[in-house]
């Protein structure tokens, strides 16, 4: 059985992290990552209290500052890479806004039903291809950077990695807070945290959840400027697959707009676009999303779906997600779910296929 990854809703006002940790029977120190808080990284007193004063902050933000001091050459190269990525993001955004505009125009046109359906599918594919092309460019930039600079083997980083490895060896789990998602992702990548976090139960919320997913999707439907187009930022650490976490959905998404919700859902399918309000959570157990508490999926038809679990059908090429039978069943406790899920046979019907 894989180690669980628990994704939670925002924790600032009504934290449920402690409850989730207790539910999984986590015993021992918990490593925390608050690098998304940037300069406020050390201001983790409330989190420390909330988790019973057993947290150890990995201080990735401060460690990064130390790396930049010790290895200015790497810092310069990293800045250059980030500048290039920002340019790429700008140009991707230009293309994206045109594609989305086209998709919305087509949605509002009058034409034979079957033609509109075909064109709608075409819009979705165009968006997916654009997102994917952007991700390929980001990955290529980073691969070039890694090949040229081999950051994790450079002395300034390697010594921190050794320390991190030692701290993590003493910890039973890792909690990754939200904040600035690009800052957080960059720090996680710089220290090769995907490797260091392997095998640890993870608890992540808001930007933390986004950064450990496969794709980081930035979103806000009603910004004060611009069209409110969701955009792919980059690949995430990929520690939890098949999901696009959407924190603060009530503030950031027009959930009553079925066209937008449906488009979002289909654009990022087969991953589940999951809305995380306060006090919600779901656990990825390596095979399925289980023990869902209040998490809602943005559905392809523009609605919101709430289920206790979603399981995966198929692997690799042609992989798709289907909703498991027992839709709407009461959530089980995470621990019993994880035991039950061992050897889980994926949902067999096509009911509610996510695309």
């Amino acid at each position: 059985m894989s180690v669980p990854v628990v994704l939670l809703g925002p924790q600032r006002f009504d934290p449920t992290l402690g409850e989730a940790v207790r539910e999984l029977g986590i015993d021992g120190p918990i490593a925390t990552i608050t690098a998304g808080w940037q300069e406020r990284e050390p201001e983790d007193g409330e989190l420390h209290e909330h988790l019973g004063k057993r947290t150890v902050n990995l201080k990735l933000y401060a460690r990064t500052d130390d790396v930049w001091k010790r290895d200015p050459e790497l810092r310069t190269a990293h800045r250059t890479r980030q500048d290039r990525l920002r340019h790429k993001q700008d140009f991707y955004r230009v293309r994206l806004e045109h594609e989305l505009e086209a998709a919305f125009v087509i949605q509002t046109r009058t034409a034979p039903h079957e033609i509109l359906d075909e064109e709608h599918d075409f819009s979705i594919r165009a968006l997916q291809e654009l997102d994917e092309a952007h991700l390929r460019q980001c990955r290529a930039e980073k691969e070039r950077f890694d090949a040229r600079w081999k950051p994790t083997t450079r002395e300034a980083i390697a010594r921190h990695r050794d320390e991190l490895r030692q701290i993590l060896a003493r910890c039973a789990a890792v909690a990754i807070a939200g904040g600035h998602v690009a800052t957080l992702l960059n720090r996680l990548e710089l220290f090769g945290m995907d490797e260091l976090l392997a095998g640890k139960p993870l608890f992540a919320w808001s930007a933390g959840a986004m950064a450990i997913s496969e794709r980081v999707v930035l979103f806000h439907d009603t910004p004060p400027q611009g069209p409110g187009a969701a955009e792919v930022l980059d690949r995430g650490l990929g520690l939890v697959p098949h999901v696009v976490p959407l924190p603060h959905p009530d503030q950031r998404l027009r959930l009553d707009d079925k066209e937008r919700v449906g488009l979002f859902s289909r654009r990022f399918a087969p991953a589940l676009a999951l809305a995380f309000r306060n006090r919600t959570r779901v656990t990825w157990d390596g095979n399925a999303f289980v023990n869902a508490h209040g998490v809602e999926r943005l559905a392809p038809d523009g609605g919101l779906e709430r289920h206790a679990r979603w399981s995966v059908e198929g692997r690799g090429q042609g992989e798709s997600l289907v909703l498991a039978p027992g839709v709407g069943a009461p959530s089980e406790s995470a621990r019993s779910s994880l035991v039950d899920m061992t050897g889980l046979v994926p949902g067999s019907s096509g009911e509610g296929a996510g695309g």
């Binding site: 998304g36 904040g179 930007a207 930035l218 004060p224």
Partner: protein, 415 residues
């Protein structure tokens, strides 16, 4: 207050061109309103020759001014020789008489107000041979300004922006008074410094300098607006300095000393004392009315220094021919400056946000300014609103202006 829309309900024959097809008599304003929106409550009341009690019931069962679609009914009750609606909507008669319903002491006036409008007004009561202006006793909505307060009517669809109201979730920034000894202005100036919540010296911040700072704080809720927009990530954490002038009509009218005070004295001092980014793209000037002139003229005198300008209902008076300006001698130096800028417009800044109400006479000057600014290659955004020359209009545009000049990290932060 608006041009009649072309679409009308059925029941009247119309030519294909949209005009009336037969030589029928022109409709009175009241008839047109009725046609559009069915019976107005005040009309029903009037037709029923209301008793004292009926008037009481009518007043108790509605809120006033009574907004029914685009029709707004103003009422006043009492003995008077005449009652007038007084307002500052440019293009309309500034005084419009209310009608008394026979046999009662109830006065009313129906006015068409376009959707999403905000109109400030007073009632002028003529009694015993004299007259006085009062706030509408039946309307709880007030807008305060340095001269007192006005009643406010909200047209259909207008809402006070949520981001201008206190939000307990927003972390409050801090306001600190400070004095500044200005050689340019020959004396000390009192200012207020806004530091965002969670301000820290290890960060670098953009700077916004505000003209008529006390008025922006008192009448445009600017502290609350800043707290909320920062909390909502719509603008970045920023440092704001609220300045005031004891003689704004002189100092804000293209005054070299004022520009020198801001640019050569205040900003260098702030950049020494505070962790500011200190580059043009992170320096903004904000001002309304004459404060808009002060902002533009300061940037004009120091091209390239102020990379962001937020100009609200700027008093950008100019003359196309001759030197006479219709606004009087107070505007002479403004006209001189704007005429000079119109002759030789230059890219004095990088991004300029201009807003103006369509119910103020300055809409003409502001609309005229926009293509001029654009012609220089600066990025310009112009926003009109159905409002007048007042502080709440300027409050309502702050979100759009500030978030355009200083976009916040909305898409990047998920706490």
């Amino acid at each position: 207050m608006k041009k009649r829309p072309s679409a009308r309900p059925s029941g009247r024959s119309r030519s294909s061109a949209g005009g009336l097809s037969s030589p029928e008599r022109a409709l009175t304003a009241s008839e047109e309103i009725d046609l559009f929106h069915g019976r107005l409550a005040i009309k029903e009341l009037e037709e029923n020759k209301p008793s004292w009690d009926a008037v009481n019931r009518f007043l108790a069962s509605h809120s006033f001014p009574l907004v029914e679609g685009p029709s707004v009914t103003f009422v006043w009750r009492g003995e008077a020789e005449a009652v007038n609606l007084r307002h500052w909507v440019y293009g309309l008669e500034s005084s419009q008489a209310l009608t008394r319903i026979g046999g009662t002491d109830l006065w009313y006036l129906v006015v068409e107000i376009p959707e999403r409008s905000r109109v400030e007004y007073k009632l002028e009561i003529h009694q015993n041979g004299g007259s006085r202006w009062i706030e509408d006793p039946l309307n709880p909505n007030r807008a305060r300004d340095p001269f007192g307060a006005n009643s406010v009517v909200h047209g259909l669809g207008y809402e006070i922006p949520s981001w201008s109201k206190h939000d307990p979730l927003s972390r409050p920034g801090h306001l600190e008074p400070f004095g500044f000894e200005s050689k340019a202005l020959g004396g000390q100036r009192r200012c207020l410094l806004y530091l965002p919540a969670r301000f820290r010296r290890s960060r670098q911040y953009p700077l916004l300098v505000v003209h008529d700072g006390s008025d922006y704080l008192n009448y445009a809720s600017m502290k609350t607006v800043l707290d909320n927009l920062i909390h909502r990530l719509e603008i970045p954490d920023c440092v704001v300095v609220f300045t005031d002038s004891p003689d704004r009509l002189r100092e804000y009218a293209n005054d070299a000393n004022h520009a020198k005070f801001l640019t050569e004295e205040l900003v260098p001092d702030l950049e020494r004392r505070l962790p500011l980014i200190g580059r043009p793209h992170a320096r903004a000037l904000l001002g309304a009315s004459f404060g808009g002139v002060a902002s533009l003229s300061t940037a004009f005198r120091y091209p390239g220094f102020w990379g962001r300008l937020l100009l609200q209902s700027g008093s950008f008076a100019f003359t196309d021919i001759g030197k006479h300006n219709r606004r009087g001698p107070l505007f002479d130096r403004v006209v001189e400056f704007v005429n000079a800028f119109r002759r030789h417009p230059n890219a004095l800044s990088e991004k300029v946000f201009v807003s103006c109400g369509v119910y103020e006479s300055l809409i003409y000057e502001n609309r005229s300014l926009v293509p001029l600014l654009q012609s220089t290659g600066m990025q310009v955004k112009f926003v009109e609103s159905r409002d007048g020359h007042n502080w709440e209009n300027w409050r309502d545009r702050l979100r759009e202006g500030m978030s355009w000049l200083f976009p916040g990290p909305l898409m990047m932060i998920y706490e």
